[in-house]
Structures are given as structure tokens and as C-alpha cells.
Amino acid sequence: MKRAVFSNPWLPIMLLVPQLFIIAVFFYWPAGFAIQSSFYLQDPFGFGSTYVGLENYTDLAQSAEYKRVAWFTLLYTFAVTFFSLAIALLLAVKADNVLRGAKTYRTLLMWVYAIAPPVAGLMGVMLFDQSRGNITKLFETFGWEFRLGVDYWDTATAMIIVAVWKQVPVNFIFFLSGLQSIPRTVREAALIDNRSATGRFWDVIFPLLAPTAFFLLIINITYALFDTFGVIDTLVKAEPGNNPVTLVYKVFIDGFRGNDLGGSSAQSVVLMVLVLILTIVQFRLMERRIHYT
Amino acid sequence: MARVTLEDVRKVYPNGFEAVYPCSFTVNHGELIVLVGPSGCGKSTLLRMVAGLESITEGEMSIGDRVVNDVDPADRNIAMVFQNYALYPHMTVANNMGYGLKNRGMAKAEIEQKVNDAAKMLNLSDYLERRPSQLSGGQRQRVAMGRAIVREPDLFLFDEPLSNLDAKLRNQMRIEIRSLQRRLDTTALYVTHDQVEAMTMADRIFVMNAGRIEQIGTPSEIYHHPQSTFVASFMGAPPMNLLPARTTGNTHVELADDLALPLVSHVDYAGPVQLGIRPEDVRLKDGGDGGTPFKLDIVEELGATRLLHGQLAGHAFTVAIPHEERSFDDTLTLDLPQDALHLFDHETGRRL
């Protein structure tokens, strides 16, 4: 908290009103609506709804399909987070090492940040296409018959590759700026204490990067959970069928294709609780970070 | 005429911490008062209360004839120079200095005139269109001074204004601030933890410790008649030697069973005391009778003076002597002049 604060009674409220109003109408109202709907069963033809208590939730818990989607989401989130963090860290460490062209590399490695997920997805559609995809042909030379949209795991692979490609730049930017904020004297001290570069990295540099890594972990989890919607929707060509989808995608199809307001809402509530936990963890980390800096 | 009067002014933070215990004093017009003390002693809090940046929990504060307890900082007609200068980074030097005047609704031409005058006084005329980031540390300091001057305040407040400068610049600015304040004939409160600044700049020094004002006095009074062991050890470098001793209710103080020193006057109190002697008041004795034995450990060469560190009656003891070509034995004999001895209560640390 700031030491010097104004004590005007009305101004801060006036300043907060627009934000609070928008959040109330477009966040809390829908969120409350979702919680309420999750206790009702909607008539598919729009003739009212019946209160069913926790039935939507128990249905979810027993649904084999929901479990399958949840497992896939877990795996997908793990794979996307792990690979995009690992690749970005490797590139950031190398970019931090080199003297020549450091700025050029930064530009080349970060610009993909600006590409929309569905555009990335469209590129994936072209590259992994079963009959004309360039990468499909490459895989063919290794004897892997890649079938996007037909084979469950092939589609999953394409999704993960595209999602990772799209996420590496953000992680790279954060890791590089984290590396650059490590004081030169600390590096020099490490240089004197440890002759192995790998040893220096894991003993000194990586622990100093850990706060950045934790922060990115949360960012990447939410990215994999929600922001890859466009990637998935394009790669399955808006027709999920037997293809792998994530939890948030299922919220969307059950709600808009299945007209299952109650079930979709219950899934929304589950996801919201999950993210709320992540938010709290994130804030805890933030507050703790103060000690690092 | 700007006198500053505080009557039983006190600061307690919401968490119950008493930052400033009730204190009363008057600062006369044109005086430069230095508040000095270790960090966390409440000196900055006191200054910020005078500025109006910190509320006053209890008591009454007036600047001139006006009680200012509830007066907004902008309306107290004060000016403040901050430790990190707090210049507005996006404004030019001229705008930085003129911003307060502009907020008072002063005409543009008049602002320009005042800013130019102040800039001339501070040798900043060539830098008026620059931004703070394009200036050196010393120049930024001057801009902060200029911002204070143009307001023509009743009262200058300085919060450790020189601590971000290097030693050489600090010495120079010390003199500049002092002469500027004299020239403008403006009352000033100056906070620092640097005792050299306190000694050289102040008309009067307020020594603060743990939220209390320990002593108020001229630099000479503070130095030669410290009212407590805290003041004695805080002011002066190297600090005053403080040794446990006892008085016997007569004209002597005993450092050890076989080591008694004569006092200037009779002391009624008998019991343990703390004996203080400034290192520079001690003299080396070349032969002759009497004297106090001193075991020498280390000699520090400071150029103009030498510091001899060692043991006296089993306690750490420092002697400062003028430089002269000579070598030292391990054991020396000291002359501790009786008018240089200070006696303090061994528990409260107050002067006896």
C-alpha cells in the first residue's frame, strides 16, 4: 500500500464505477446465471426448465465422455505447458548468451505472439492435411501415416504442436527479460565459484528464474485451457466428432450444439472453480515474489 | 516572520507504533534546524508532519501565527526537497520548478520570471528545457532546490537531500544550501543521519532517538556537553569513548580499583557511572608522574590525525592525536584532562 494516499470520499468511487459496472453486468451476472442454470434441466425445445438440484453435476461425474475429455485436457495442458516452457527457456538462455544478433533473434522469436490462434490453426490445417499437408508428407517418409481429423492421437499431436508454436514467444519474452534482470555481479560470482556452465545454470541462474517460471506456469495453464480454443476449433474444422477436445470446448458444444444449458453451465462452474484456485495461487506467488526482488 | 511552534505534538500509527513521542519546541525565524538521528528515530516522520504529509495524532503545530494541524500541504506555504528529489520525470526543468506556481494560478510571465531568477541563482539557466533524466545527480539536486526556492516559502523542509550525492559534491552542496538559506532568510528544517552535515550546517541541532528528542542545542553545545550517552556516541567521529566506572561521592571517579581520576568538581552521587572522554581530548604523556596506562593494538593513519585503538583498564579505547613523525610502543601513558571527563548515569545514560 502507498504511504501517501488521498482521502477524497467520492472520487475513488466514481473512478471505480465503470469497471465495477462492466464486471457486474458482463462477468458476475453471467457467472451467477451459470451457477443458477447448473441446478436446472432445460427443456430442449425451450419450454421452461425444471429444478434438478445437483443432478447436472452428478451426471458430469458419471459421464464417461466427460472423464475422457477431462483426461485429455489434463494431458494436453501438461504437454503444451511443458514443451512451450522448455523450448522457450532453451532459446532464451541461448539468446542471452550470444552477443551478436541478440536483438534480431529476439524479434524473430517473439513476433508469432501476435498471430491469432485460429490463424495458427488454419496453418496447421494446411500443414497437417491428410492428403496434401507438407508435414504429413514429411511424416510419411518416416513411415508415419498421419491422419488429421480421423485418428484421435494424430489430431491431438497436431493440436499440441500448433499450440506450442503459438505459445513459445510469450514464454521466451518473459524468460529473456528474467535472465537479463539477473545482476551481472551474481553471474560473475558464479563464474568464479563454478567452472561448469551447466552447473552454473542449474545452481544459480535457474533458481533466480524460478519466480518467472512459476508465473509462466499459471499463464501457460490458462492458455492451454482457454486460449487454444481457436486452435482446436480450426484443427477439428468445427466438427469435433471423435476428435479430442478440451473442457472449454465441451462447454461450448454442449451449450450451443447440444442445447444443454444445465449441463454446459455445470461444466462452466467446474472450470470457474478450477481457475479461481489458480488465481489464488497466482496472487500468493505474486506477493511472495516481493521477497525475491 | 515564520516561526514554527510545536506543542506536545505526537504521532502514533494505526498499528499502535509511537513514531514520535510528545515533543514541544520553537524554531525561530531564519534558523536552520537540523534533525539528526539514526534511521527509524522519527526524524523524517516529524518533518513530514510539519509538511502536512503525515497527520498529527495529538498536539498543536503552528507555522507563523497559524495553527496548521488541518491545513493541506499546498496551503502551508512550505517547500520540500526530497532525498530522491521527486522531480516529475516527464516535465522539463522549467516546468518542474513552475508547477507549484501554476497550480496557485500565477500568471505565465510571472512564473517564467521567477523560474529564470532561481535558475540563475543555481546555475541552471542552460538546462531549463532539459528533462531530469538528462541531468547529473548534482544538477537534479539543484532543480529540486530551485523548485523549493521559486515558491518563496515561509519554511524549507529538507529530507536527507544530499545522501544520493557523492562525497565531494555533498561537501559543496552543503555550503551552497547553507549560504542560500542565509541569503533568502528563510527558516529551514533539515533532516539527516549524517552528523557532519548536522554539525556544519545547523544553527541548532535536534538529536533524536527512538521517537524522542534527546537534546536540543547549538553544534558546540551538542558536541561539548552531550546530555546523554546516546548523543555523546552519535555525534563525533570517532565517537566518544564510554567506559564503565564508579564514583565514590567525592571528587574522584574510579575506572578500576587502583585507577582513580580527579574530577573538576565534587560529585555527591556514589555508585556505578559511565565515563565519557572524546578521543581528541586525550593526550599522550611523555614521561613524568601519573597518567593512565594504555595498551595499543592498532594505529589508523588518517593524514591530519592518527587514531590509536587499544585497551584502557580492560575496555576498548580510542585516542586521536595530531599527526607527527614518531613510532609507538605497545604500552603508552595517557593524560586524561579532568575538564574533558563526562559522567553519565549508568542506567538511563543521562548526564550527571
Binding site: 475513488p12 490462434p117 494446411m126 | -
Partner: protein, 304 residues
């Protein structure tokens, strides 16, 4: 960032001191090899899409993405920009480009104004319900619209805001990301500045307008870039809210392309599709590349 060379200096400065010079050189070459590989990984797919945008559909249909320029570059781009029909029935690329700009700029500006005000209130005022307001706002931090997509849609529909720019933009603003960025930045502004301003007679509004907003210029620019990219790249929400083609954005248009490809009735206009994809990525990419110093600063500031 000028300090790249500066901060990476120690690692390389140590090289001459190492006894075996040749091994160290191999290390540097290895570093560059990895960085070049990474850069190519990022660059090549997009270059291929660009090359492919200059070919005719039949070639693309037969061979997939192309490695070099064809004949149809101008034709494809002008068709994608100015011709109606193709993947949509009634809008051309220019209309979608305009809509994308409205969404990106409108979202970014709205977000900046609203979140700056809120962050100012949170950081600089003693509020009665500060903790409550804080949590009410920051609960929304990581919860994107996608999570509560169906109820949000129902709410907007009940308000009659489908197929309006308001319905497209405002609900997206309902998250605290911008407020959080500004909160972090305001907290790093030295306290003495506000104290100096108070002594200079600046009240809360004057301080905000005269000092804080100009001080935040870089931050505002950075957040504008981040939010513009975020708004421009929105997909699911525009897909639901805009059913009239007149409101389609470029990214929304991608969905039409994918559906045409999925239908597989005739050979889709692949060249035009790739041209449209390039147009859809160009503005945000250019902004991020040209203003990367601001953008990087703003992005990484948030995790302090």
C-alpha cells in the same frame, strides 16, 4: 532493448580467459545454431503461407503449401480484400479489416480508460471497501469469457446486443487484466512524487492528469499493443455474437474458410484463403515488431 548486449557481456567476456579457445567457439556456434533453428521454426510456416497465397487453388490442392512465389499474388490479395463472396456471401476483406480494427482499437482504448481509472482508485485512495473491491475486480483476472460463454451469450442476447459493436467489445472488457497491469505500474511510482505534487498544490484529479497519466505514457502504449492484439485476435466471442456478415472480423472470417475447406464440395479458393490469413495476422504482427521495446516492457512489467 539496449541492455541486451550489456547484460550478456559477462558470459562472453569470460571466453578469452578460458584455456581451450576452440571448444568455447563451438559453444557459440551451437548457441547460434539453436537460435537459428528456433527462428526458422517460427518463421517458415508463415513464409510458406505467404508463398502459397501467390498460387492458384489447383496447385495448392495438389501439392499443399508452397515454397516459392507463384503468379497469383496480386490477384489473390485483391480478391481477398475487395471481392465479395468467396468464403463469405456479402462482405469483402476490407469490411472485415475495418471490423477487426474497430474491435482491436475500441477494445484497447475502452480497456485502458476503464482500467486506469480503477487502478488509480485502488492504489492511491484509502477506500472503505478496498479489500472487497480488490477481490471483486481481481477474481476476474484469469477467467476469460470462454469459461462462461453460454450464459454470457444469453445475457447479451437478452439485452439485444447481438450484432452490435457494443455487444462485441464491452463484454470482453469485463476482466481485470488491464487494471492489474496499471496497479503494478502505479505501485512502482515513487511515493515522493505524489508528496511533491501535494506540496505543489495538485489535488487527486490534477495529480492524475498532470503527473500520473504522462508518467504512464510508455505503459499505456504497451498495454494498448497488448490489448489491441488481444482484441484483434478474438475468435469465439465474435463467432457467437456476430451472425450478420457485416460485423465479421478477419479472425471470424477464418472460421468460414475452415468450414469451406471442411465441406470439400469443390476445390476451395486456397490462395485467397491464405491471403486472407496473411491480412489477418499482418497488423498485429507489425505493431508488435515495430513497437517491441514498449510491448516487451509492458508485458514483463506485469510480473513484478
Amino acid at each position: 532493448m539496449a541492455d541486451i548486449t550489456e547484460t550478456s557481456a559477462p558470459a562472453t567476456r569470460a571466453t578469452p580467459a578460458a584455456p581451450t579457445r576452440r571448444r568455447i567457439n563451438w559453444g557459440v556456434i551451437g548457441d547460434h545454431a539453436i537460435l537459428i533453428a528456433g527462428s526458422l521454426f517460427m518463421l517458415v510456416p508463415v513464409c510458406m503461407v505467404f508463398m502459397t497465397a501467390s498460387h492458384d487453388p489447383v496447385t495448392i490442392h495438389r501439392e499443399g503449401l508452397q515454397w516459392w512465389f507463384g503468379e497469383e499474388l496480386e490477384a489473390n490479395f485483391s480478391a481477398a480484400l475487395f471481392e465479395r463472396g468467396g468464403f463469405t456471401d456479402t462482405v469483402d476483406g476490407m469490411r472485415m479489416l475495418t471490423n477487426s480494427l474497430i474491435l482491436g482499437v475500441g477494445f484497447a482504448i475502452g480497456k485502458i480508460i476503464i482500467s486506469m481509472m480503477a487502478a488509480y482508485a485502488i492504489v492511491y485512495f484509502r477506500l472503505k471497501f478496498a479489500t472487497l473491491a480488490f477481490w471483486v475486480i481481481f477474481t476476474t483476472l484469469l477467467l476469460p469469457l470462454e469459461v462462461r460463454i453460454l450464459p454470457s451469450y444469453e445475457v447479451i442476447q437478452s439485452m439485444g446486443l447481438t450484432n452490435t459493436y457494443t455487444g462485441l467489445i464491452v463484454p470482453l472488457i469485463a476482466s481485470a487484466t488491464g487494471t492489474f497491469f496499471f496497479r503494478q505500474f502505479f505501485r512502482s511510482v515513487p511515493e515522493e512524487l505524489i508528496e511533491a505534487a501535494r506540496i505543489d498544490g495538485a489535488g487527486p484529479l490534477k495529480f492524475f492528469i498532470d503527473i500520473l497519466v504522462p508518467l504512464s505514457r510508455t505503459m499505456i502504449a504497451a498495454i494498448f499493443i497488448i490489448m489491441f492484439v488481444f482484441g484483434w485476435n478474438q475468435y469465439l466471442w465474435p463467432t457467437l455474437i456476430t451472425t450478420e456478415e457485416g460485423f465479421f472480423t478477419l479472425v471470424r472470417g477464418i472460421r468460414q474458410i475452415v468450414q469451406v475447406i471442411a465441406d470439400g464440395n469443390a476445390i476451395p479458393e486456397y490462395g485467397q484463403a491464405m491471403a486472407l490469413a496473411i491480412i489477418a495476422m499482418l497488423p498485429p504482427v507489425l505493431i508488435v515488431v515495430f513497437f517491441q521495446n514498449w510491448f516487451v516492457k509492458g508485458l514483463t512489467e506485469s510480473d513484478k
